[in-house]
Structure formats: C-alpha cells, structure tokens
Symmetry: D3
C-alpha cells in the first residue's frame, strides 16, 4: 500500500470517479488540479497547481511514493493550451519526480495517439502512432518523455491509453472503447503493485465484446478487466441508425477527433 | 433490424438450421434455392433460382437490404458444377447486389480455402490460401470477388469460412472445427449490425477447446461464440482409435478433402 | 535444357518478346495462341488453341516437358471473356498437365492480384490478395488452382506476377514495376532449372530503383534481375506533371486498373 | 487409455504429485527413478534406473505405449551431473523409444530455456532460447533431440516447459509461472490423446493472472488450464516488500537461476 | 524542378553542406536561420527567422513550393531551448504550410528518436521510438505532428532520421550511421519528385557496411545511397582502442546521447 | 590486431584453408588439433589437444586474446564421439575462456542446426532450430552454451553457421550454401574487430545467387561476402540430372544429413 499518492487532474471526470476508490490503494491522497476541490475526505489533501509552472509541480511531490497523472487538457484545444498543460506540464511532472526519489508514475495517455487507425485494424502498443488531434500529439510527446526517463534515469511509468471513461457508451465507437471505473482502478492497482513496470504502454479498456486493441504485450501485469459495455448493446443498436459505413466518423478509431477541424478553425 | 433478408441455398443443411432463427434478424425473409421449399412461415417467401443464371439472381434482389449467401456447391464436385454454382454464381450475386443498392452480403466461404495447412499450424485470415479441393478454389475466387467489390465499388461483405456446421462432431477434426447454429446466427447478426465491415474474413467456428484458427483480426465485430464441442469429447475419443498420426487425413486441416482424388477420378 | 517447351499466348506482346530467346531454353518450342502465328523458326511449331476448349488444350501437351502459360485475357474485359480464357482456360491447362506427366508450369499471373495496395505499402507474395479488376480476380483463381495442384497432385508451378513488360516505362507507376525481357527470360530459366519449385509465387519485376515488392521469399531461385528502368527516369519525370498525390491512379499500385469502372459500364 | 505408461523421475516432487492421478490415464504405470519408491499401488511397478546407463533405460520400455519423462537433474548443478542425467540421459531415452516402437513421449523441459528474457517480454515457443543455467542449456539440448527424432524418425514428443509446480507461489515470479497439478495432468492427458503432436513445445503454466508466455501456437491441443495462482495474490503482495525493480532477480524470467553464479563457484 | 525552395536552419552544418547542391532542385532558394547568412548566390535569398515566432515563420512561405526543414536545436540542450525551437517551431512550420497551399515538407528528424536501441538490434521506422535525449523526444513530437497533418489535412511530409552528416566518421558508431552529403541531396530530390510521399519516415544513412537500420518500407522512393564510410574503416579501427563492449556508449545506438546526463545537470 | 589467436581444429579442412590468412589478423597463432601439424610458419605454434579433456583445453589459453573454435566432430558420427568433441568439448572451451579473461570466441556452428527446413523456406537465425543430425543437435547445444555464457558471464561469442566451405560446389544444394575462404576470413575479421558482438548468430555463406538464409539481423557487423558460387553454375546444372523434386535430399536444406540413417544403423 502506498503511503502518499498524488493524483493530478483530480477535479476532472476521471479523477472524480476514481477518488472514492483510492483509499484502497494509499494511506493519504494528495489531490491536485487547477480547479479547487472542497469536499475532501480525511485522507485527502488538496493542492492547487498549474502544471505549466515548474515550482507548483515540484511542490506537490513532498513524500509522494506514487503518482497518478490525469492532469492537463483532455480534449482538442488550441495549441497554446495544450503546450502549457500537456507538453510543459508533462515535462515538469517527470522532472519533479526525478528530483523526488522517482515515485512510480501512472500517466494518462489516450487512445487518440492512434486515432487514425481504422476500426478494422487491430492495434497494439508497439505499432506506430497515428494521432488524430493536437491533443493526441501531446500524448505522443508524453509517452516519449516517459520512455526517455525510464531508459536514461530509471523512472518507472505505466502509460495507459484511456478509452471512453464515462458511465456508459453512447454509440458503437464508445461501446468498443468503454472503460469502467472499477477496471481502471484495478489497472492502477496493478501498476503500483507490479514488481517492475519499466516503461509500459497499455490500452485502458474494459472487457467489451467489440475490441480494437491488443494488450497481450502487457499481460505480465496480470490486469483482467471485468466490466463490459455489452449490457448497453441493445440501447446502442437502437440509436445507431445514423451510422453509415462511409462516414469518416465511423471509419476511424478516433471518431470525431479524427474528422474535426483544426481548433483554430472551429 | 433488416426489412428483407435474402438467404440463398436455403434448402441446404446450414440454411435449414438457420431458418427458425432468422425472424430475429429481419421482418421478411426471401428463401432461395434450386430445390423447392414448401413449408414456409408467414414471414418467409420462396424463390427458385439457378445461381448460374444472371436474370434469376437479379430477380431475387428487389427490396432486399441484407444477403446471406449460402448457395452453390458445398462439397467437392466435378468442375462444371462448381463453375456454374460457385464461380458464375458468385459473380452473378455480387453483380445483382451492385445493381440493387448494394445490400450488405454475408458470404459463406469455407475452411477448405486453407485445408492444406497442417493441424499444428495456427492459421489466420491474413495467411496465404492453401485450398484442398476445386470447391476450396472456388471459395478463393469468391473471396477475391468480395475483396474487389468492396475496394472498387464499396460493396460490403463479411466472408465467413465455415467449419463443420452439423449437430455434433464425429471425430477429432470436426471437434476442432465444429460450429453451433446459435453461434453462426450470432455471427450473422454481428455481420449485419456492425456499423462497417468493409470486406472482412473470419473463421466461423464455435468456442471449442481445440482451436486451429486465430480470429483476432476480426475482434472489432464483437462476436463471442458461446457453444463448444467439448461436451462430445469423451464420445469422440472413444471412437478415435482409427486415427494414426501419419495418416494424411489426420495431418491436414482439410481432412479427407485434402486426400481425396480429383472428382473426375472418383 | 528442355526437350519441348509449350508457350501459350505466344502471339501476345510478352510472348512475341520472349520468342527469340527461347531457343536457349528448349530444343523445340510449341507456340500456341488463338491468333495464327506464321513467321516460324525451324525449332518452332504453331498450334491454334482456344484455352476454353479442353480438347484443344489437351492436344498441345504431347511430349511437352515444360509449359510457359501466357495465354488468356491480359486486360480488364467483360466477365464472359475472362471466364473462358482465364478461369476455364487455366483449369484446362492444369488438367492437361496432370494427364501428361505433369511438366513444370510457369504461370503468368499479374501484379493486378494486389493492385489495391497503395504505393507506400511494401507487398510480398504471402500477403492477402487485393485484386483491382475482374482480370485480377481471375489470376487469384489461377494461383489458387496452382496451389491445389501442387499440394494435392505434386504438379510444380512458378506463378510469376508480371509487372509492366513493355519496352520502356511511361510514368512513375510503370517505372516502378517495369520488367525487362532479358530479366523475364532469366526468371523463366530459373523456374525450369531449379531442382524444385513446389508452388512458388514471385513478382516479375526488374531491378528498378523504386520498388514496391519484396521477393525475398523466393531467393532460393537465385534470380537476380539485371535490367533497370532508371535510365528512363529523366524522361518520366519530365512527363510527370499531371500526377497529383491525391489522384487514386497515383495512390494505388494497380493504377487505372484500380480506378476504372466495371467493364459492363465502360 | 494407455496400456502401460512409463514415468521417469517418479520420486521427484512433480512425479509424486502426479502419481495419484495417473490411473485415469493408463492401466499400468511403470515408475522409474534412481531413488527407490516403495509405497506402490497395485497398478504401479517400480524400476530403478540411472538414466546415464543405456541398458538401464532400454530395460524400462518393454510394452510401454506412453512415456512421461520427468527424470534427470531439475536444478542448477555441476556440469558432470547434468551431462549424465540430462544430456546422455535424454539421448538414451529417445534411443530406447526408437528401438521400442516409438511410444509417444512427454518431455519435461523447463522455463529455464528462456530464463534470460525479461518479465516484460512476452515469449512464445518459436522465439530463440535464452537459457539461464547449465540446467537450462541441457533442456535446450533435449528439445533439440526431440526435434530431430520427430523430423527424422517420426518419434512424436510434446516438450512441456514447466513453470513452478509446487503447492503454491512464494513471490511474484512464481505467481506468474505457477502450475497446478491438475492442470499439468490435463496437459499430459491432451498430449497422449491428441491424434498427432509431432514435436510441439508448450509452456506448462496455469491460468494465472500475470502471464509471460504465449501458448497460442499449441492451441490445437485444446488444453485449457483451469487453476490459477490468483487466490494467493494477497499473501504474495504482503511478502513482496523485498522486491525492487532494479534487482536482476526481478528483471529476468529465470529469477535466481539467471543471477546465480556458476555451480563450480558456489 | 521546384520554383522556390525554403530551407530552414541554413546556417547549420548540414544546411551549409547542402547549399551548393540546391540549384539542381529549385530555381530559387530561400535560406532561413536565426544566424545571418551573407555569402548569397544569385538564386539565394536570406530571411532571418526565430522558429518560435509564428509571424516570422509565416513570412517565409510566400510562393514556396517545397520546404526543407533543418531548423531548430540539433543537440541535447536545456528544455526551454528545445521547446522553442523544436516543439513550438515545428508546430509553427506546419501551421504556416497549412495556410500556404501545403508545399511538401522534408523534415529533419534524427536517429536519436531511437537512440536507446542497442547496436545489435535492427531497427525500422515502424518500431516504437526509444528517444535518448530531450532533443530526441522533440523529434518524436515533430514526427507526430507530421503524421497528424497528413492524416487530417493532407499535408505531405518526408521525415528523415539523419545519421551522422559530417565529412567523415570518427569512431565505429559514426561509421555505421555516416551520411554523405550527395546521398542526402539525392534523398531530398526523391522526396520532392516522388508522385506521393504521404507521411513517410526513413533513416538517412549512406550505403555503409555496418548497418543498424532497415529502410525497406520506404523502397518505393527509389533512393539508393551511393556513398559509404568504408574507405575510412582502417582509420577508424586504428583509433578504436578505447571502445570496450561493456561501455554504454558502445552498447546503445545513440552513443553519448544515451549516456549523457540531463542537460540541467551538466 | 590480436596478439595471440587460438584456432582449434586447425588440422581440418576449414582450418587448413584459413591458416595462410591468419597472419593478417594476429601476431601469433596457436594451432590446436588432436592430429599433429608439423609445417608451422614462424608465427604459428602447435598444441595437441583432446577437447574432451578439460586440462588440455585450459592449457591452450595462456595469453590468448581471440579464439576461433573449429574443433570437434564435423560430420554425423556415433553419439559418443559427438558427446566428447562437441558437447564436453564446447563446455570445456567456454570454461577455459571464462577462467582466462574471456577472449572473444568465434564458434563454428553449422547450417545443420536448421537442416530440416525445406529449401523453399527462408531461414533466419531467430527461427526455431530444426537439427538434421546428432551433429546438428550438438551445435544447438553449443549455441545454447554461448548464449548462456554471454547473458550470465559477459563472454562474447559470434556463432557462425557454416555452409559448404570447400573449393567449389558439387550440386545445387552446395551451390546455394557455398562459402569461400576469403569470405570466411573476412567474417572472422569482423567478428574480432566489431566493438561488441554479444552473442550473435550468423549464417556463414558467400554472396551466392541462390540464397536460403537471411542474415539481416547481423548487418551491424558490416560483413559483405564478395565471393559467389555463380561461376560454377553451368557445371552444376550439367551434372544435376539426378535431382528430382520429390527426393528428400532435394527437399531439405540439410541434404543427405536429413535423410541419412541413425549413425548406429549405418
């Protein structure tokens, strides 16, 4: 069990969903976000942080022995925002870790690093990236930093390419990439308890019926997702009438991320 | 749900097994065969058809929004029969589809397109074909037509390489490739409801213990076979005494298709 | 050296180019075509043949110990023509061989069996076919017959997927797939002199600079093409101004075969 | 069911665990070891044997129609011992089989043939060996003999690379490679009842959560392990505090086999 | 031939070497750098540019129909410098291209995106990146931007992972990765004249004897390097005495990039 | 340049051919064999050695900084001979090296470790072994020892799978696997001068036209064979009349090694 877990991006959707479970993993939890969090449990502390500010980030790491990095931008946004939160922010995070005894990091990467593969292609983490957005490119950068920091400095990191982590799927795409919160928590638990993770990349997706990704390279972690989007299948099918096979939204794994305009042009 | 499903080869063994299930998939079902079918349910219509006759085939497609093509020859036969049913017949079918708004096709291909692989080899649909019979070569042709019609005309098709679709296995070979009818129906349902199938090839085989084939490339369909030949294992073992490891029937996946003579010489 | 070589399709372009070289390979050469050939050399004989006529084909094989099968349709054509020349014709040819001591066959397949791959993809003969035309599908059938006849009957065959066998390239596509006649002859020589070819598929292409195909799986043949399209590169570049990267003719390996309409609609 | 099964190494740990189950597999069981076994059941016979003695080994094979070869050295030991038990011993065993109608052999190989892969690497039996000990090299030799004897003489053999076959795991490494006895028995049953095994290599490991190995190439056997080390996970985690990610014992699959000194230097 | 080629980083070593050759490729050449260039030829123009300044970069693109992007930081440097030159700078460059008719880009990536592979590993552009420096990570970002801009906007780019582009090799590592200027020029010429490059990644390395990289995926370009480091082999061997096989500088492809400290700690 | 090279098996055919070239590689050469060598050059010394005798082998290593291990049995022989020369002998050699500062070893392995692949298969050193003889199995053992000694002790070794190292080829098989002595010498030179070889396996074969093997994984060595068997092709073809494609001698890469009987039965 961890002594003190740092979770960045704690005010976001995924962060909120995970908070009630983290006490199983750590004695104390430091929550960080640029947005204030006020409803703290006794084992939780809050520290406001702009990830683009190196001193802010350094200040989070005192006594931390595990990091769950959900912070930064999680949608397509203008480049300046992504640069600050996801490029400078990730660099600051890994630098802070390097200067504070290198606690293991779980880094929230995204399925959007490979969003330009089609849904017919089976993708595994060793295949070339095909980002579908500036956001996706920023996650490519983050995985690159994680690779470097392990190879050069020994900083361990599990990069999890998160699918669709919302209460339920809303269309065939999100049905294929849905991630239940319990499964996500189990993955984090595996990430912190495995004797060694080096730098490992894994798709964070539940045991859905439709499956685009192959995680067999990370089977050493022993993660077995147990949730499935299948129970919503009838609902999804009933609402699917607008999907046509020649629509790029239907062709690419990234869905509308792949087909949206440049953020400056929206 | 489909409005009007066309099933060719409806008087054959597989067709007969599927008929009672098709009402779950389509409002109306057009049954076609060269042999008359008389025991029709209210949602069923019959149309006699020689697949080698282009006008016959065209006449089947009025209002059809899904095709399950089981028709043609399903055993090793003299070339003239195969030519008419499986070469000209398949061409006629895809041409008719192209001229009638391209309803999605599920094409009954066969494990005999790869019947000259040995049972020790794990085969997936991306590997080179090794047909074991003139029948198998005709299915190679059919998959080639399906590939062309998608790439060039956008006609979607799911080619299913059917294993042994009979009530129960009769020897180790059929135990490994047995396909239960419920599983086959589920696969067809997936084929028609997936937002996009392009041209996809999959082995149609139940969740048997022995497994020669790897369908992971088609995992995007979400098909999870739930039947298994395992419950007949004891019976099969008890009757297996005649199998010797050096018998070509035992070596090749195609079994006696691989070792039978040319049909002209039988 | 062969005693008696049969070359079908001898009146076509490739056949005409090869004729002057065949005396190095065989004592006698039987030329066959549906079109009369009259300018015979002393070592040459002509036999008219409609490949769709089984008796015609059988009559060609007397005493033959090597076959170079160039016959049939070599362009996109209506299905009836392709059916007769390339489906029934190939079957007749292999049947005739099977009944006449199985002389080794070199079968002129085509790059159009994989014409729907893009030019950025490196293709080798073990990859799935992606035919770009009915013509291409007929060659898929032919390779399937060749595979069957070797696995089942021991009939050896070298299937050569011919590129662009004309005097010189006319655009970037044909520059990448150009095949010089001397190189083609050397390949045939290798095909007949190798101790064993089983059923082998190889791309017949000269040592051009641009290269889409990987023949390493057939390196056992020892074929080293020595001609190159490079000497026409300046001419080709000078005439290339009409090529744009988003033109499907430029995207697909099959060029205009991939983008042409169905032959019935031309 | 076998008439007479020979199990070598019957006095060792794995042999003892399997003995109570073998009556399901064979009418009579010949137990062999260099150590006396006295608590025989009615269907069991004991024959003392030094595997390095050719005559001893030959004497075991009378009437035998199945062999389970667990004998020899199963730990790192000085070379002389390994040479006698695992090199000469294996050769003697296969020679005896060759002279006695070639009963099918199940050969206890070891995960230590690939012990120098790291735990992050997913290993399958087709990958190059990386033995972690002289013991591991002797098993490489044994698999080489098995390969030769099948290819040249037709002797069938299933080489099983046994993981950790003890009552329960004691640390993360043995949790990942734990093999339950029931699962091992089922694997042996599959090995003897499959119509054909040729020479097949498989990792013998239960259905644990953490998984380093990929047995899909042997799926034709139909072996489905049903035991799992997961129920001891909490215990293992509680005792894991000494594992650090930079410890070679933690890095390599072979654990302390990979990091131990040469046996002469211990 | 191009009308107007933009070369950024023109005052650097590679830029200087290429300048005398560019007149073969373009009528006019715009040289850009943060450092002034004064010795201009008649076909050359100079424009000072800080790549981190979007307006500066935009101003370079007027009338440009080809871009050779050598600009930015080319060594390990503190993150702020790399951020400005290689992250913001690359984004600015692709944005400027997108707003100016998308002239094809040749992007100088680096072998340091895969510098943590060992010299025994054969690396091709489809393998996962393993950057050896912050500099290397910035090139991972740049290739990610190039991938996105092609997939989403159709901007074509050839990413060239440059080896050691200096007059001659100085040790075994640079002997293996040496790139002659003529070869580099030829590669650029291929990049601009190929009918279509999409987004292609290639290692820019001469035809040296020692070879760590496999460029076969880019064979469609027709680039055949003709220079070789072999003529300096004797010199290199004579000076090699300090290389020991256990030195990380000798183990990793990135050499001292892989073993140097963090730039903040130097 | 080496100070003192040890060459075992110096009285054999390959050893004799190499001797006149070794002065280019080493100041002094220790020749060892079980057979006396008397025609010594000034830089040569002879030491008789039975490889099966540990003390004999140890005595060879004084001051040695490079080993070329050609010694042992090089043909199919009864197991006792192979055990002594190639199993115990190899172990003794690596043990002696481990106790004498670990001079780099070039180990003469053999193409017979993969002799049961067919000639149509392209084999690379990462593929599973398929030995064709007891001799071949002994080389599998030797490569296993080499792998262990590098991974565990850091002993570097280049294992060279020698083809047919005789003055000229005598049939198609030896034409495909012929190795010229100059090429072999160059390979040895590369093996000793490369900064690091770890444990690398390579096929030692000249630049013949027919090629069964793929050495690209060892391209980092920079070895470019320059000799070829092609100049004897006409002679080989003229004498080839006895080769038939269904002869196992023609099917398998190992030729008569694959088809010969067990040495005890000859």
């Amino acid at each position: 069990m961890l002594k003190k877990l740092l979770m960045t991006g704690a005010a976001g959707g995924v962060g909120k969903s995970l908070r009630p479970l983290l006490h199983r993993l750590a004695e104390r939890v430091v929550l960080s976000d640029i947005t204030e969090i006020s409803d703290l449990s006794p084992h939780e502390t809050f520290r406001r942080c702009d990830l683009g500010d190196r001193a802010h980030v350094d200040a989070l790491f005192d006594g931390v022995d595990g990091v769950l990095h959900l912070g930064g931008i999680s949608l397509e946004k203008p480049f300046d925002l992504i640069l600050n939160g996801n490029i400078v922010g990730v660099y600051n995070l890994f630098e802070a870790a390097r200067h504070h005894d290198m606690p293991r990091i779980i880094f929230a990467s995204s399925n959007h690093v490979t969003g330009f593969y089609t849904r017919h292609e089976r993708v595994d983490p060793s295949m070339p990236v095909r980002p579908d957005s500036l956001y996706g490119v920023s996650k490519v950068f983050g995985e690159g930093i994680a690779s470097l920091y392990f190879d050069k400095f020994g900083q361990e990191c599990l990069s999890i390419r998160i699918g669709w982590c919302f209460p339920k799927p809303i269309n065939p795409r999100t049905q294929a990439i849905w991630l239940g919160v319990e499964d996500l928590f189990d993955l984090c638990e595996r990430g912190f308890t495995a004797p060694r993770v080096g730098h490992t990349i894994i798709y964070a997706v539940s045991d859905n019926e439709e499956m685009w990704w192959d995680n067999s390279s990370a089977a050493f972690l022993g993660w077995k997702p147990r949730q499935s989007s299948a129970r919503w299948r009838a609902d999804v099918l009933a609402n699917m009438k607008l999907e046509t096979p020649t629509d790029p939204d239907v062709i690419y794994q990234g869905g509308h991320f792949a087909t949206s305009k440049h953020p400056d042009d929206e």
